[in-house]
């Protein structure tokens, strides 16, 4: 391995103080392991060969009520060691006991890298751990690497620094964040970006039952209820999705449903989608929500009506083959992510669209 000549006067340092391996928190989605956990374990496996040999191990952490049964599945997807923390009070995520659990596991297992899904849970949990452990944390990463890094100011060079790459400035730039000064080097990683490994049921690993030391006040915040949408609607199989936003109002959704019915009457496989704001306002049910905290869809045709195009919405539909936007605001972000657009009031456009679909117009799907 050769390093840039211009850096040759900077001494190489290794500040890991015995930290080895990559840790991944494996959250649950209701009663199954979240896909994001498998994705991160997959990515950890792809990165680990760049680490020292004694650091090429993947440590998963599983926390919840009666979660032991999931440990083998984590191993089948690429974990080498699974720490299992079971407590009846932890059926659902609660910030402080999860913080205590992970800090205790980190102090025990001493990983050099710790990864968390950039979900509403991971982005709640990881910052608190980083603050308490005085570690750096990079948010919502979409790419990782491990390799050479020189820091002139600190007069330090690293052979195997963790490079955390994340979109910034409203997704227009990619910034590489580095922090090999304190360990573990921590990141949250965007769900749906990394690939999981193929499941290998013959893989074996170690399962360690672990008991954290609860701190005073860990259970002071009480969960009243967790509400998740029932998944009775499979939006992911629709060829066409007609999605409505907050700008529609309740009446607008009646019109949108009429469009859905008209497309369906032509024999096309279509479903109704919605933004979170429309769901929050009570115009439609949760099961229709598309985006970061709803469903991720990839239909042949996505029609966004009166949706502004917030990043959280775009995250769930940007891989649609063709995107059509209808919005009366020409500066709406949705137009930056669309192929076809009409800048006009939905009350003008929708009746006409319904009319033409009823007259026999069918969307080409290939």
């Amino acid at each position: 391995m050769s390093y840039p000549e211009k850096d040759s006067k900077i001494p190489f340092v290794d500040l890991r103080d015995g930290a080895r391996g990559i840790m991944v928190w494996a959250p649950l989605d209701g009663d199954k392991i979240s896909e994001a956990a498998f994705e991160l374990i997959g990515e950890a496996n792809r990165q680990k060969s760049k680490l020292d040999e004694d650091s090429q191990k993947i440590i998963a952490v599983l926390i919840g009520k009666e979660v032991d049964k999931h440990a083998q599945e984590l191993i089948h997807y690429g974990a080498d060691i699974v720490y299992v923390i079971e407590d009846d009070r932890l059926e659902e995520y609660l910030t402080l006991p999860f913080v205590t659990s992970l800090i205790d596991v980190i102090n025990e297992a001493k990983p050099e890298i710790a990864l968390f899904a950039a979900s509403t849970l991971g982005r709640d949990l990881a910052p608190r751990i980083a603050a308490k452990m005085n570690c750096g944390l990079s948010a919502d990463c979409t790419e990782f690497d491990i390799g050479y890094y020189a820091n002139r100011k600190r007069n330090q060079r690293f052979k195997k620094a963790f490079k955390m790459i994340r979109p910034s400035f409203g997704e227009s730039k990619l910034a590489t964040i580095i922090g090999p000064f304190n360990y573990p080097q921590m990141a949250t990683a965007r769900p749906g970006v990394f690939r999981k490994l193929d499941k290998d049921s013959s893989r074996t690993g170690e399962v360690i039952k672990f008991q954290p030391k609860w701190q005073e006040g860990d259970f002071a915040v009480e969960l009243i209820e967790t509400v998740r949408s029932s998944d009775s609607l499979d939006l992911t199989k629709a060829d066409i999705i007609v999605a409505g936003g907050f700008g529609l109002g309740k009446e607008g959704f009646d019109m949108l449903n009429e469009l859905v019915a008209a497309i369906r009457a032509n024999g096309q496989n279509v479903e109704l989608g919605a933004s979170r704001a429309a769901v929050d306002a009570g115009f439609v049910e949760y099961k229709h929500q598309i985006g970061q905290t709803g469903k991720t869809v990839r239909p042949a045709i996505y029609i966004a009506v009166a949706i502004s195009g917030a990043v959280q919405h775009i995250a769930g539909m940007k891989e649609s083959a063709k995107i059509i936007a209808i919005n009366h605001d020409p500066s709406a972000n949705i137009f930056l992510s669309s192929d076809f657009g009409i800048v006009n009031d939905y009350q003008e456009v929708l009746p006409e669209l319904i009319k033409q679909v009823k007259a026999g117009y069918k969307f080409d799907l290939d």
């Binding site: 659902e92 995520y93 910030t95 402080l96 979900s119 509403t120 849970l121 982005r123 709640d124 910052p127 608190r128 980083a130 603050a131 570690c135 750096g136 944390l137 948010a139 919502d140 890094y149 820091n151 910034s168 409203g170 997704e171 227009s172 730039k173 990619l174 590489t176 964040i177 580095i178 000064f181 304190n182 006040g217 002071a220 915040v221 009480e222 969960l223 209820e225 967790t226 509400v227 998740r228 949408s229 949760y286 970061q292 905290t293 940007k318 995107i323 059509i324 936007a325 992510s337 192929d339 076809f340 657009g341 009409i342 800048v343 006009n344 456009v349 006409e352 033409q356 969307f363 080409d364």
Partner: protein, 274 residues
């Protein structure tokens, strides 16, 4: 104040950041902060939650910020909307702060104000995230420093009784409702509320209020924890993102019937040279 609510006289703090109106990077690859600035949109929602909580149960609102001297602009805006006190931590040595160092600085400022005035804190509000950083990490990191519970991604806050709030937070596929005792830190999403504008009475009383400005020495923040020196992460590289979707094709010629039919025809037209 409605009689349905207990009179609690809460000590409420809100963290506020001033951000550039247009996101662009300078020649050095870092955020260009030379242009126009505004209160970070998420912070306006945090302030609104604070004002609405005070409307219900009474109390005092203190807004705190860290940034260059012109960040007073956003703090003054908060005073005109009804905040009672405003503090700015401003020091060149804070430049280059990552989220760890930002939280350290703001937590030190908050602790300093509480100590000076012999107060305790009941609720700290922050915006979910800032539009120029997008990390959503700082509120949780301040909460950790202040040894308080936290709820992030907050969509609504109800007063449950004289000791608890009921807080609704966003989760994947739905939401959670939590019973949260004081003191706590809440990070607020944009869907939580519609922020009010400046009020006449608040603006009038804001005239006599001044933003109090401190540097790091005054609040006892050691230099080694401030700014770049105190930050466990550094930005090593910034590159442009290539968007793979081509520009949008807009239809605006003719009447609605023509717009729609032109668009529908285009949607079904196979691209050539593909």
């Amino acid at each position: 104040m409605s009689e349905n609510y207990p009179k609690l006289d809460l000590n409420i703090f809100v963290t506020i950041k001033q951000v550039p109106k247009a996101m662009k990077t300078g020649a050095d690859g870092l955020m260009d902060r030379s242009g126009k600035s505004m209160m970070n949109p998420h912070c306006t929602h945090a302030l609104e939650e604070a004002l609405s909580l005070r409307d219900r149960v009474g109390g005092q609102i203190t807004v705190v910020s860290m940034g260059p001297p012109n960040a007073q602009k956003s703090l003054n805006e908060a005073l005109r909307k009804g905040a009672d006190r405003a503090y700015l931590l401003s020091d060149r040595k804070l430049a280059g702060s990552d989220t760890w160092a930002t939280a350290e600085a703001l937590a030190t400022l908050i602790k300093f104000i509480l100590k000076e005035n012999n107060e305790t804190l009941d609720v700290l509000y922050g915006g979910l995230q800032t539009v120029d950083g997008d990390t959503a990490q700082v509120p949780a990191q301040i909460a950790s420093r202040l040894k308080m519970s936290q709820v992030t991604y907050v969509e609504s806050v109800k007063v449950l009784d004289d000791k608890h709030l009921e807080v609704r937070r966003i989760i994947e596929g739905g939401y959670q409702r939590l019973k949260v005792p004081y003191p706590t830190t809440l990070s607020v999403t944009e869907t939580a509320n519609v922020p009010r504008g400046p009020s006449l009475t608040a603006s009038m009383s804001a005239v006599d209020k001044e933003v109090i400005i401190y540097n790091i020495d005054q609040i006892g923040l050691p230099e080694k924890y401030a700014g770049l020196a105190g930050s466990p992460t550094v930005v090593s590289r910034v590159k442009n993102v290539v968007i793979d979707r081509g520009p949008v094709q807009l239809f605006n010629e003719g009447d609605t019937a023509k717009l729609v039919s032109d668009m529908l025809t285009a949607v079904n037209t196979k691209e050539e040279n593909n």
